[in-house]
């Protein structure tokens, strides 16, 4: 490693460094790592805060939206003063304030078929913090085609789920969920609600998976969908397998280039979404 930690960094990261499985080498690895967080909202907020605090050297943030007052109940990276500000700007300010060691790259745009492979290309790990299924399938397909490990997560009401994908080695999101549900078949958080702290827990689990992946530690949630209900407070690990019929990572893939599924969904319903 060419990096050496300064005295201040040794103090800042001391609780990592004393962990036998992390140590100075692990911390240097984190400082040299790059994570892309797509969606600076309910999941991306806690995930990015902990990744910045942990000293992940480069964080990319992708989001096209502005902060809305209804976000503040769970998107803890944004403050009341940030209403109306671009989410990536608001989030980047907080991340830099938490840890000046971190280089934050702001992408004020929506991840789409035309740009996502370029977006993910430079990163070691991708965190899916998006709110819609078109984006979730796009991120999955791009990470499979681009061979990037990533963390999928979803939240709704009092439920959360999480899965880590190592392309080519473990089941992908499409292996399990096949294709996006038709519009309106599944309620969104804005329609059905979500307990704010559920987003925090699940986003922190995504950050934990990212850090473990970067450090090569422990067992990832690969081939496993973690399903959590906050009311019963039960976490279940559901085993999932690679699907030989998967359209993107199966034996005869039909998805070999990316396209925006939104168009296809419009075609089926005949209505713009």
């Amino acid at each position: 490693m060419e990096l050496t930690l300064s005295d201040e960094q040794i103090e800042r990261y001391s609780r990592h460094i004393v962990l036998e499985d992390v140590g100075v080498n692990g911390q240097e690895k984190l400082l040299a790592s790059k994570v892309l967080i797509i969606g600076a909202g309910g999941l991306g907020a806690p995930a990015s805060l902990y990744l910045a605090a942990a000293g992940v050297g480069t964080l990319g943030l992708v989001d096209a939206d502005q902060v809305d007052i209804s976000n503040l109940q769970r998107q803890v990276i944004h403050h009341t003063d940030d209403i109306g500000r671009d989410k990536v700007t608001s989030a980047a300010n907080k991340l830099r304030a938490i840890n000046p060691d971190v280089t934050v790259r702001e992408f004020h745009l929506r991840a789409e078929a035309s740009n996502i492979l370029d977006l993910i290309n430079d990163y070691d790990f991708v965190v899916d913090g998006t709110d819609n299924f078109v984006a979730k399938f796009l991120i999955n397909d791009a990470c499979v085609l681009g061979n990037k490990p990533f963390s999928h997560a979803g939240i709704l009401r009092f439920d959360g789920q999480l899965m880590t994908v190592r392309p080519g080695a473990s089941a992908c999101y499409r292996c399990v969920f096949n294709q996006p549900p038709p519009p309106r078949a599944v309620p969104s958080c804005s329609q059905a609600g979500v307990l704010g702290a559920v987003a925090g827990v699940v986003g922190c689990l995504q950050a934990t998976e990212a850090l473990k992946s970067l450090l090569g530690l422990g067992g990832l949630l690969t081939d496993t969908l973690l399903v959590w209900n906050a009311l019963r407070m039960d976490f279940r690990k559901v085993k999932v397998k690679r699907n030989p019929r998967c359209a993107v990572c199966g034996e005869h893939p039909t998805i070999t280039t990316l396209r925006d599924e939104a168009a296809a969904v419009c075609d089926i319903t005949g209505k713009p979404r």
């Binding site: 909202g41 939206d65 209804s70 078949a185 699940v202 559901v238 999932v240 019929r245």
Partner: protein, 73 residues
């Protein structure tokens, strides 16, 4: 017969298929779930033609969006 649905023992009529189980569980839109039967994910078109057997392990996995939340689909 006994099935294990999402980790819990459930008694159902003998010989029902996956589609009938979804109806019984009040899943009215099969598009809302992904069904794993004994660790293999089924295609949605197979729900009505896939019989269930004593001791089968069924996971009903739900789509969950969440995350940013300003422009949810």
């Amino acid at each position: 017969m006994k099935l294990i649905v999402n980790g819990t023992d459930v008694q159902v009529s003998d010989g029902i298929n996956v589609g009938q189980l979804l109806f019984k569980r009040k899943v009215r839109l099969p598009d809302m779930v992904s069904v794993e039967l004994n660790e293999t994910v089924l295609q949605r078109a197979e729900f009505e033609t896939t019989p269930l057997h004593e001791g089968d392990r069924v996971e009903l996995l739900y789509f969950m969006g969440g995350g940013c939340g300003t422009h949810a689909v």
